[in-house]
Symmetry: C2
Subunit: 440 residues, 2 copies
């Protein structure tokens, strides 16, 4: 945590390299064959455990990242961001304060320390292990994706373990089994070839702002369902068991919304707020503009108007099919007298749902229950974690996402911290997962 | 036309004053009691004809403006803008080229020359006449409005004559009897108190862009009718005679739209494009914005979104009632969890329709028919002419709007011109209008 490994800032390239080399040293000290690999971004730390013997043992890829978010605004930190210190957190608990303590240095070290301990006690791990720690997670997921695509054959692994997520709460562990994908698109409706005087032309002339508004308004029905034909193709119902577990969490939707100035859950009817965010797709407008946007009034009838959208997608939805379906939906609503232009540069990623029934998830659930004394929540995340999709796409493996972060960790903010209990119980949890595979 | 009386440019204040003084001289030479009056803007030229005898004679206010639009870009002028010259226009006709030749110096001189001739032949005018020529028409209608409000009692007139509009075409005179008013309003819908991550929050959180789009989309039904309750209160049907005359004009709607890159008349069904622009109200969105508007994609769920609107109004509609009705319409569509903020600074003006049956219009129609050999078109204008409303409000009189400008006059553009025929036939037309009142 003393390395200011701010990946996005060229001034910290050297610090990133130093962090990566420090990690290589740690892995080598554990008997791993380890080194740096060049990528299109920061150097990648790769380490392979000494062959534990037995080709039949599963091969696990552990993933973390050593880059951190920039620390500014510095004046809001209680202690300097790159001088880690243990003091009390807001709940009276011991916590280590530093940039990167939670995201992701503290988290990734839970796995490495568990490995180190296991090796010390048992000599060999219960699986073949490749450790991959990247330096571009906070800045650009394309680097690791490109690396995996180019070098997929080097990684004939059976599963990926990722320690970069959070617990349900300080007492309840969590495993992320659902991540929403994202498809971004922008469309511009063009009416008259120039801006017109709305007094002179108002009436017989198409107004692109009205057209865009009508399209946006038509995307949802009164129950919050998305009306684009084919949008829900492939979407599976949320398993009854999962809905039951989530209902049992008694997610305080009103408080959650109250924290951002709202109070009444909106969105798709028939689903709880948690289900909406974790397991249902959305169509969101991220930006809209057209015509006059300065102070006061201007009687212009604009030539064009634009909306920027992202669709959060769940497992089973094909982003490319949805892009096509959305374009057809828009075109059907654009009057014959207007043109429409699309911008596809928003990119796309698929939604991911990991079966709750893989050996990896089963092992993790058993281990976390043993450590915490309560069932791990099978959580969803509303956003995508791009590397999960890269593993799926290039290495053809699912990821086990478990981590020990908490909502109050201030990841990406001043006074980032990681509870000492997260570190200790996280480390023990991984050791318990190892034990599941070792049959111990 | 040699005076560069650009009212909006302080460097031309002296030129404006010189123009005004020149006009005073012209009026005095015609035997008028004339002088300058201070306003909150440029000096106002006022002249009163020598009492023609007979208190029973009607009192006419003639209005024009001596200020002109700036002349730049100068390089696009064929001859210098303030060195008037007669040469051939694009139809082979003689035209005088200069800034202000059409708007409004040439036009106002048709009336003054008609008066001068009439006085020379008959000695007295067939009505009492006050001439009012302002210098702020192109920059700020508030100055003349303030002057009229403060000094209304000085002008106990029966009608206002305005020569600042156009003919239907080069062969067909026109009288403007309908001007649309305008009410401007802006509304902002506020959802979450800060911009949110659309992955994390997308689902249960209200998106203000969607709310604004829904409101904009709901303003019109499928037939282009405005759905705001009470919006059409007071709107009278277009008189059948007028519709018939307008239909006879065979307005080339497709060509009109084609010139701005469109081709299919939109708007309120059941009305022609000309009827829509001249005699029907509209609800137009002049601007919309919310969320991310930069290049590329940003997964933000924005805190607020705004739409700027203007409503074109026709006679009978009360702008203040429509402002209230629109606010109620918006509030009814804003979800309980969002707030809405209105900005009323857009101001308002009423739509105006002059009865086709006043003595002034009757006289003008007869005179114009005698001069041009065809009926004057009773035209509408989609935009407001603020001084008409000021006359109505402060002096309680209707205006007779007739002028001899043509669509190809390049008013406000380089190479502004006024056809010599417009000047000659305009002058003769006014003399014929005088004759109507004199019973000659």
């Amino acid at each position: 945590m003393r390395f200011p490994s701010v990946g996005t800032d060229p001034a910290h390239h050297k610090d990133c390299l130093a962090t990566a080399n420090w990690l290589v040293g740690q892995l080598q000290a554990m008997g791993f064959e380890a080194g740096l690999r060049q990528t299109t971004g920061q150097p990648l730390v790769l380490g392979r455990s000494a062959p534990p013997g037995g080709e039949k043992l599963p091969h696990v890829l552990f993933y973390g990242h050593y880059d951190v978010q920039p620390a500014d605004p510095l004046e809001l930190w209680t202690s300097p961001p790159f001088e880690p210190v243990i003091r009390k957190g807001s709940r009276g608990q011991d916590a280590i304060f530093a940039r990167g303590s939670a995201d992701d240095k503290g988290q990734l070290m839970t796995f490495l320390e568990a490995s180190r301990c296991w090796l010390k006690v048992h000599g060999v791990l219960p699986f073949r292990l490749t450790v991959m720690i990247e330096g571009d997670e906070e800045s650009d997921p394309a680097h690791i994706d490109t690396f995996l695509k180019r070098n997929a054959r080097e990684f004939p692994v059976d599963a990926a373990f990722i320690c970069d997520t959070g617990m349900w709460d300080a007492k309840t562990p969590g495993i992320d089994t659902r991540l929403r994908g994202c498809m971004g698109i922008e469309f511009t409706v063009i009416g008259p070839k120039i801006d017109l005087h709305s007094g002179l032309y108002g009436g017989p002339v198409q107004n692109p702002i009205k057209v865009v508004s009508r399209i946006v308004a038509a995307m949802h029905d009164k129950r919050g369902k998305i009306t684009i034909p084919g949008f829900y193709d492939g979407v599976k119902p949320i398993p009854a068991k999962l809905r039951k577990q989530w209902a049992g969490l008694k997610f305080p939707a009103k408080k959650f919304l109250g924290d951002v100035g709202l109070g009444i859950p909106a969105g798709e009817q028939g689903f709880t707020a948690l289900e909406q965010m974790w397991a249902r797709p959305t169509a969101e407008v991220n930006g809209i503009y057209g015509g006059y946007r300065g102070v006061g009034s201007k009687t212009v009838l604009p030539s064009e108007a634009t909306a920027k959208l992202t669709f959060r997608l769940v497992e089973g939805q094909d982003p490319k099919a949805i892009r096509r379906a959305f374009k057809a939906f828009v075109k059907a609503l654009v009057p014959a007298d207007c043109k429409v232009r699309f911008d596809d540069s928003g990119g796309d990623s698929s939604g991911i749902a990991v079966s709750e029934d893989t050996p990896w998830i089963r092992a993790a659930r058993a281990a976390l229950k043993a450590e915490f004394g309560r069932d791990a929540v099978l959580m969803g995340a509303g956003y995508s974690i791009p590397v999960v999709e890269s593993f799926k796409k290039h290495l053809k493996v699912d990821s086990l996402l478990t981590g020990f972060g908490l909502a109050d960790d201030n990841a990406h903010s001043p006074d980032e911290k990681y509870d000492v209990a997260s570190f200790r119980r996280g480390t023990r949890s991984w050791a318990r997962i190892f034990a599941q595979f070792a049959g111990k």
